[in-house]
């Protein structure tokens, strides 16, 4: 049954029953419910049908609206960003597949900073508070968010986590997103910069396989370079693939284990922090 007028047509947009072409006014306005009647379509086709008396006719109308599906998240993200900018806190959203080395990079960053910058960490995982405990041991203030079945953090979760924290001004907030190269890409958390981490054990084709994630990165960190001697990972090829997605993207090749190029990472951090003003 047609959902619009209750007549026998099975689909509201079926070829014999063009409601959209019939508004406003023409299609059914001119007859009483229950009576058998005839329509002549613009192309000359004649339709005969009737409507049950219980379903009187009202013409359908079209509402033009413009509503972004993620508007709620984006508005909350903007509020988060403003709140953190006003306390001069640099916010980074760290994203990668599980096990690429996000937590290890955070730990190494904390050791290198040696308290020069107050660091707060929001840890996102589906379960456990293991990562929050790890970074607390390394000297950061940390909150764990457990997303349960959800595959990404969103701006409202960050807002709630911020309420549990006391953020001193002039610090650094690192958000470790749920390990996933797909879903977190769509959700602005209120960060200033997005850092995507890919380890050398994942292969050079990651940017081509997950272009949406790499397209939105402000910085790509290739991690675990201490393992390069054991692999046939080609850094040049990885960079080429990343630049196919984003021709001007910045790339760093680091090892949190050996400390290789961690200075470049810290320099990037400091530059971002300075350019907050």
């Amino acid at each position: 049954m047609c959902a619009i007028c209750g007549c026998g047509s099975s689909s509201p947009d079926g070829p014999l029953h063009p409601h959209a072409a019939a508004q406003p006014g023409s299609h059914h306005d001119d007859h009483a419910p229950g009576s058998e009647h005839e329509h002549v379509l613009p192309d000359g086709t004649v339709l005969r049908h009737s409507h049950p008396p219980s379903q009187p006719h009202r013409p359908s109308r079209v509402l033009e609206v413009e509503r972004a599906l993620l508007a709620d998240n984006d508005a909350q993200a903007a509020r988060n960003r403003q709140r953190l900018s006003s306390s001069h806190t640099l916010v980074l959203n760290l994203m990668s597949s599980p096990g690429a080395g996000k937590t290890t990079l955070i730990e190494a960053t904390l050791r290198r900073l040696q308290g020069r910058l107050f660091v707060t960490v929001i840890e996102g995982d589906q379960q456990t508070s293991l990562d929050a405990e790890r970074v607390r041991r390394a000297g950061a203030q940390a909150v764990q968010i457990n997303t349960g079945k959800a595959c990404h953090l969103d701006a409202h979760m960050i807002d709630r986590a911020l309420d549990e924290l006391t953020l001193p001004s002039d610090g650094l907030l690192l958000i470790e997103n749920v390990g996933n190269l797909v879903c977190p890409a769509s959700f602005d958390l209120g960060e200033h910069k997005r850092v995507v981490i890919a380890s050398v054990t994942e292969g050079e084709d990651k940017p081509l396989k997950y272009p949406d994630m790499f397209a939105r990165a402000d910085l790509i960190v290739v991690s675990k370079t201490d393992l390069l001697p054991h692999l046939d990972f080609d850094c040049q090829r990885f960079a080429e693939h990343a630049r196919r997605i984003q021709p001007r993207v910045e790339l760093l090749f680091v090892s949190a284990r050996s400390g290789d190029h961690l200075d470049d990472w810290l320099k990037w951090l400091t530059t971002q922090h300075r350019s907050l003003d």
């Binding site: 947009d13 409601h19 359908s60 079209v62 509402l63 609206v65 599906l69 769509s186 272009p211």
Partner: protein, 113 residues
Amino acid sequence: MHELSLAVRLVALVEEEASRAACTTVSTVTIRLGVLSCVDPASLKLAFLAARKDTIAAAAELVIESASAHAICLSCQKPSDVSQRTSACPFCGAFALVVSGGDELRLVRLEVV
């Protein structure tokens, strides 16, 4: 993927708009989906079937309009439309496209009674 939560969000927006317009039935829901948005149209349609249950949109059809993405080639400077993030420039073949747009995800139109 998060198509189900998007579909639930979409139906909530539809209900808001429908109640504001004081209508009784929603027959068509039209959204605009950027070709580069991280949403799979087929999964979203399936998720919509589940999310519309017992709402004013229970019998509504979901129409997905696709919105294109634009690119400028850093190599030859020519503009083009792209449907994939991994595309080469259609004019010079360089993998040097700076892409803009194509990621929108909007409810744009309702047909209601």
